[in-house]
Symmetry: C2
Subunit: 279 residues, 2 copies
């Protein structure tokens, strides 16, 4: 049975026992509302660690938008049942006061790689991510941590601060899990209407087609402009970015002369979707 722990002190004791037995701890940080994408991370953790902790914490510090925070889906009973079926050892689900007690005053900030893309549209978001992940690595003392490539920029940010602060955890990126029609799994997808849900897979299809065109020699900027027009035509709105970036530093990639990633953020109804693919 997956054990639910809510206090950092109790988690520390649990982990200390494991560590004394020489066990390697794997952690999967999540915000709950678990789907197959999360479960694929739990499975990777299960395969590559002796004990697995999945954390569920909807982190207010990484939400720049109060309404998005409020609407973020939560269903702990369902999450617990899923984690139990995957053989996860601990569901760590602390309250906000446990993570940010009175007097809390510390921020972990990453410069450079946090500035474009999500950073440009979600001020303070990556400070929240880096700070809470630092805390979760400290609390769990995990030797391995598993993140989805769906949040590609987040994965780069986490790898950056872990290396910079010499935190003894290895960050492992895992492939994006998609619905059969190509839509990247996301906890926010449940907020799409039936019509929007039918439109949503167009994002991945258009990105794949643009990537294919680029590989066939179409200029990068032309391919991106054409893709934007197709997305607006399909019913998406407010394309915040649809860009080609270098894989690691996320610098603008004007062509395919180095490994590149196409990344997108846009809105469908009142749901913000993101996706990214290798090019």
């Amino acid at each position: 049975m997956t054990e639910v722990i809510r206090s950092a002190d109790e988690l520390r004791e649990k982990v200390a026992g494991w560590k004394r037995s020489g066990m390697l701890v794997g952690v999967v940080p999540t915000m709950g509302a678990l789907h197959d994408g999360h479960l694929s991370l739990a499975r990777a953790a299960r395969e590559q660690s002796d004990r697995v902790i999945v954390t569920v914490f909807v982190n207010p510090m990484q939400f720049n938008n109060a309404s998005d925070l409020e609407k973020y889906p939560r269903d702990e009973a369902h999450d617990l049942a899923l984690l139990d079926s995957e053989g996860v050892d601990v569901l760590f689900a602390p309250g906000v006061d446990e993570v940010y007690p009175d007097g809390f005053a510390t921020t972990v900030s990453v410069s450079g790689i946090t500035e474009p893309l999500e950073g440009a549209f979600r001020p303070g978001h990556f400070d929240g991510v880096a700070t809470v992940c630092s805390k979760l690595f400290g609390m769990t003392q995990a030797g391995r941590a598993f993140f989805g490539e769906k949040d590609w920029q987040q994965l780069q940010v986490v790898q950056r601060f872990v290396r910079d602060l010499n935190i003894p955890v290895r960050i492992i990126g895992c492939p994006t899990i998609r619905e059969e029609d190509g839509l990247a799994m996301s906890s926010r997808n449940v907020r799409l209407s039936a019509t929007e849900r039918a439109t949503a897979p167009v994002l991945h299809a258009v990105m794949q087609a643009a990537a294919s065109d680029m590989r066939a020699g179409k200029p990068v900027q032309t391919a991106l402009m054409d893709a934007q027009a197709e997305l607006l035509e399909a019913g998406f709105r407010d394309i915040e970015y649809l860009e080609l970036r270098t894989v690691e530093g996320l610098r603008p990639a004007p062509d395919l002369s180095q490994p590149a990633r196409m990344l997108a953020a846009l809105w469908l109804g009142d749901v913000r979707l993101i996706d990214n693919i290798a090019v």
Copy 2:
């Protein structure tokens, strides 16, 4: 023999071996130019840990003044001899490129407690302290870290971010070590001329007298004003602060109704001195 290690990878391997044997690691972060104050920390670490690492790194990120950084005394051979005589296991002395390699982009910041006193006169100083200490805790994986009370505000800042980021290290503050005439030991003291060195102990004497007056009922602000006048009369210049603050939150303390600390920073010739005492 104290072993000198310069690479974080090599240190990690050394520490991993200790940890496998269940040993508790103590660390004493320093900027070198070691004196009896540092050695008292090494002795405390020796008593309270199975293995002791003293780090020597003159951290450019915590110097707001290029000249102060340049003039900061360095004598590694002497430091090593002292640490060897104290039975320290490892002197970790990384180069700047080892601590801040190309691409380094992360800052640990503490708000609130970092703003007055040193924070007001040394912009960015505590970001540098918190960031490098986070790194040293990660690199050494120490279970205990020893800091001098001489840098009282620094001690509070380190305790704050360690608690906030759930870093699994216990911070232990150790009493300020003084010369026989009362001058707080500091690596910067060697830069005092003979005349200045003769004047320097007046700082501690004046602070003690002011504290005594306060305890006897003299109003706090009057006692501080009188003390400032005496210091300027004695030959100190540019008193940056001489204040009474609450012990933990470092909030202004208008009276002795709660535990308080008197803290001072001022100049003697071209050397900046700091000190603090319980009141």
